[in-house]
Assembly symmetry: C2
Homo-oligomer: 260 residues x 2
């Protein structure tokens, strides 16, 4: 099965997504709580990394979580037992919901605006959508390193080759307005890590971002986008930004919109 | 007089700094208020763009604002009449203060850590420093444009050629700890502008950032860092990010530290 998911489906990847969600939960989920009884759709739940936080923050909502991958859903089911899981392609979804939640999904889709427009058809009038995406163009660090930057650029390129866009965060405003949503509001949610924030250095710089870059190394080298030496140095330099005098910056974008 | 100040000292530049300060005042100054009677030094006050906000937020503090440029001080005096202004080089300063405030200054200095170490000598034990700087590596936008990026890169290069560092924001943590400050804490303060935030599109994307890039155009072309056509297109593309579907992102860094 080739779903074009650049990060792959192996076990370490599932662990990475779990670590990422725990470290970033407060940053990403703050402000998102759905009323008891409301019908919430998580489109593209993957292994359930965000699903558990949706459940924790909206215990009374009725959550339906959908993903195209049966293997991911099997893991998600173990994580969140009270959720209704369903295997389906985003474009095949039907039903009516009060709220839709989409996190780290649009970045992998060739037609994100079309996906948003379809999700809009699933909302009742007055219903809302919440979208969270990263933007790898927001990644910068100290010490600076052309090798680390080249490795990040490789990840962006691989995601583009797979039909996605690792720089999609900056596009959420035009994507949501273009898909017909009203009252669109986008907020940057920034991760900044230095030695005074050891949890973020470990949880984000090392175990989330650097691990994500490391995860595509074999592919990048196999496709001739990087040399083995250059790649190794890039990853080492990313790790180096987690040392005592290092810093790391990354911006996620959280968008909300309404179906009038 | 060549002080190495890349942005120059002409009138439009003073207006730009004023616009910037007004739009960004809340973002940058939130959390900074000095007790009545405390002795506060603003090192490198320039035309007083930040000075007026320091006065407004700490009306009872005794503020001394210092700059190396007599012309800038003349303008600053008109803006903030209750402040004690003094013309001096940062490294020649003496006296004792409870707090030091430094904003958009270190980015222009060849030895920022040495400057911070000197400022530390001016603090009483237990005194604090607050430092605010930008980082042009945090600038990204939609639509993407290699011409706009090249123009931004020119600005970074010109500032480096003048002995400064337009990418200094990411370095505040190591700079302050290296200069001997304790309890150093750095926060990103992010500007994100899209059509739902027209004040920021005008006040930041257009009148602050794009104006700053435009301001070095003649120099960039004269030094052969850009062609006239390429530069014009880069500036046009930066303006384009302020259109209806455009977005713009920039991160300032605000750091605090203590002299034990």
């Amino acid at each position: 099965m080739d779903t074009g998911y650049v990060h792959g489906y192996a076990e370490p990847e599932a662990r990475r997504l779990g670590d990422q969600a725990d470290t970033l939960a407060e940053l990403l989920h703050a402000g998102t709580a759905y009323p008891a009884g409301s019908r919430v759709l998580e489109a593209g739940c993957g292994v359930g990394a965000q699903t558990v936080h949706l459940v924790a923050r909206s215990p009374g909502a009725h959550l339906t979580a959908v993903d195209v991958s049966a293997a991911s859903l099997a893991q998600a089911r173990k994580r969140a037992r009270t959720v209704e899981f369903r295997q389906a392609d985003l474009f095949d979804l039907d039903g009516e919901y009060d709220h839709v939640f989409v996190c780290f999904v649009l970045e992998h889709l060739p037609e994100p605006e079309k996906a948003l427009a379809h999700l809009r058809t699933l909302l009742r009038p007055g219903g809302t959508i919440t979208v969270i995406e990263g933007d790898h163009g927001s990644a910068f660090h100290h010490p600076r390193s052309e090798y680390a930057q080249a490795a990040i650029d490789c990840l962006v390129r691989l995601q583009a080759d797979a039909g996605g866009d690792a720089l999609i965060g900056r596009r959420l405003y035009p994507l949501l307005t273009g898909a017909g949503f009203d009252g669109v509001s986008v907020e940057p949610r920034t991760v900044y890590a230095d030695a005074s924030r050891p949890g973020l250095v470990t949880g984000f710089t090392r175990d989330t971002f650097t691990a994500m870059v490391e995860g595509v190394g074999e592919t990048a080298v196999a496709r001739g986008l990087a040399t083995a030496d250059g790649w190794a140095r890039g990853v080492a330099d990313l790790h180096r930004t987690g040392a005592g005098d290092g810093t790391f910056h990354y911006t996620f974008f959280k968008a909300t919109g309404r179906k009038s």
